[in-house]
Symmetry: C2
Subunit: 330 residues, 2 copies
DNA sequence: GGCACAATGCTCATTTTGAGCATAAGTGAG
DNA sequence: CTCACTTATGCTCAAAATGAGCATTGTGCC
């Protein structure tokens, strides 16, 4: 048996202190131009049932974490997972929402992208528009109305401290994440925004917070445990990733129009894009190839159906999309 | 107490199956234009002692994983950690190198960037040029000689299978990761290259492999357990990150010249950059501001000393470097 | 045929890159 | 003291990538 000593000479081989480890999955699909996550019903947690992400224990039988995750998700939801990527491992003692046993609790979170939305193997599993939980993240229809109330409360939170340094720090964070003073918005900072709201006590999941939270319309629907945090992590990661890796195609049907593709990218990023430039980009990058088919039935000129060129995965820079927000006419 | 049922109705609240969890740290510094990682001596493992990354158990006392990591690294190595980021959680059953106990073993790996290279609190800890372990990743002096031998062996590996589909897949991977047929090299695919070498049996750490591995000069010095894999993950992540976040500055002294900065970026990315364009980029992005000082003593015209503009962290796109490889004159 | 509505094609002014040339300012040798 | 050499800095120029729009082309519907 191998022996390891850390640099102090203590034996660390066995890594004592066994911990409880769980897996959580953010399973994403995009249908009808809306970004959706697969959710399940979770009991307990103060107000009866609430939505949660599919989660399960780490099963020792599986050779790798990812394989374990694939196995039980596919069994549980009858949803075959295509693209899977590890997101983050959460281990905060006070954020897990489950402190019953003495073990340290970890959750290893994964992001999965799936193509089709089956009705759901289980009655309790359902697809939900992810902006239901994070309404301030959707800028497709212009600035989300939820932001008015949120900004007011955040400003109040920043102002409620006497310490000028702390106050300054809070204001800097408001500026950086919500673009509060300079009107800037970086769509990738989803987690930072959520965490800020959490700290400011605007997230009901934060136990022991002052009851002065938003009424829920503005700060979205809660989820069980810290699952909204996991969801926020997933969205942020995905928004970043589509810019430099062609992962959106994992969400598209075998054949689609450029505009459907654009709608999907917009759904994920929560912004609108300039149509002509978007298609120029896609064409130029050689991400798709034309098929015979065209759309029909809908109003307007029929669109050509295209399909993803799998070969690009083998080509040089393996590009994604660099998002370029369009000015909204409204 | 809360109760959670998964979608099958089984109770998953307690996430049974306790696991052993360890923390591993890739602590990076850059001195004299060389990228270095902090290593410790590890006993056991076939051939006596070998280099390993600082690792320790997850201590339940700490509120978060990151805090726990910071605490024991600082205590163990007397090295204060600045920037810390979670890298990845490894949980392969057969890659951990430690299967003594029945528990599933996880390692949560972190990447840390530090500014100064203290002589090392412990005699057993030492800074090592990271290319010692991954020599094929350094293109600063032109194509690494190690690649000749590696490519030959990889081609042989691809060719040794009869199944044409598998063979095709292997060749595609060689092309994608090592640019074998199209001469392309993506410096971020460090992990993919390492894993390919591992699968091809060219990495001594792979137990039960055919002894036909490279002699070590080409495939670098081994590390304990799967620590080279962790290191490869860290390098790949860091190479990607410096392109869009100003993290290099975590490695720089308070004041430095633009050329030192360039050397550091080059050290990390393993490529050479076009000098004039590099400084134009840095200037234009407003990443640094001038100081009074200039260098002296060395040969050549003295260079102005600059310092990182911390404010950029609060500014809009929070840019990093977009690396642009320069043509090597040689 | 005439409309309304998307899908497509193309233009044009800016910026952003990639590559170099030219000059400036020290050090060390003879 | 001057020349040779070395590294730091300034600047130029052509090519490619972006950001915004205008113009045309097919279709389904009165």
């Amino acid at each position: 048996m191998t022996t390891v000593k850390d640099t102090q000479g203590r034996d660390t081989a066995s890594l004592v202190n066994p911990s409880a480890v769980g897996l959580v999955a953010v399973i994403v699909a995009a249908t009808d131009g809306e970004p959706r996550a697969l959710t399940v019903q979770v009991e307990g947690q103060a107000r009866g049932r609430s939505d949660g992400l599919p989660a399960g224990p780490l099963v020792p039988e599986h050779p790798t974490l990812e394989r374990g995750l694939r196995a039980w998700v596919e069994r549980q939801t009858h949803q075959r997972l295509g693209y899977v990527e590890q997101l983050y491992t959460f281990g905060d003692r006070d954020r897990q929402g489950d402190e019953a046993h003495g073990l340290h609790t970890l959750s290893v979170a994964y992001l999965a992208l799936v193509r089709e939305v089956r009705p759901g193997g289980l009655a309790e599993a359902s697809w939900r528009n992810w902006y239901r939980y994070l309404p301030w993240e959707d800028f497709r229809e212009g600035r989300p109305p939820a932001l008015e109330e949120i900004e007011a409360k955040l400003l109040a939170w920043a102002g409620e401290t006497a310490d000028p340094k702390l106050r300054r720090r809070r204001e800097d964070r408001l500026s950086l994440t919500f673009g509060l003073f300079d009107g800037t918005w970086n769509e990738e900072r989803v987690l930072e925004r959520y965490e800020l709201l959490f700290e400011a006590g605007l997230i009901p999941e934060a136990q022991g917070q002052s009851g002065a939270a938003c009424d829920g319309a503005a700060t979205g629907q809660p989820m069980a445990f810290d699952h909204r945090r996991v969801l926020a992590t997933a969205i942020g990661r995905l928004r970043g990733k589509i810019k430099y890796r062609p992962v959106v195609f994992e969400l598209m049907p075998p054949t689609f129009t450029l505009f459907q593709l654009q709608r999907t990218v917009e759904a994920l990023s929560g912004t609108n894009l300039h149509k002509q430039n978007f298609r120029r980009l896609v064409a130029q990058q050689g991400l798709v190839e034309e098929t015979e088919g065209v759309t029909s039935g809908a109003t307007g000129r029929p669109a050509r159906l295209v399909r993803f060129r799998r070969e690009v995965l083998l080509e040089r820079p393996a590009p994604g999309f660099r998002l370029r927000p369009a000015k909204r006419p409204a």
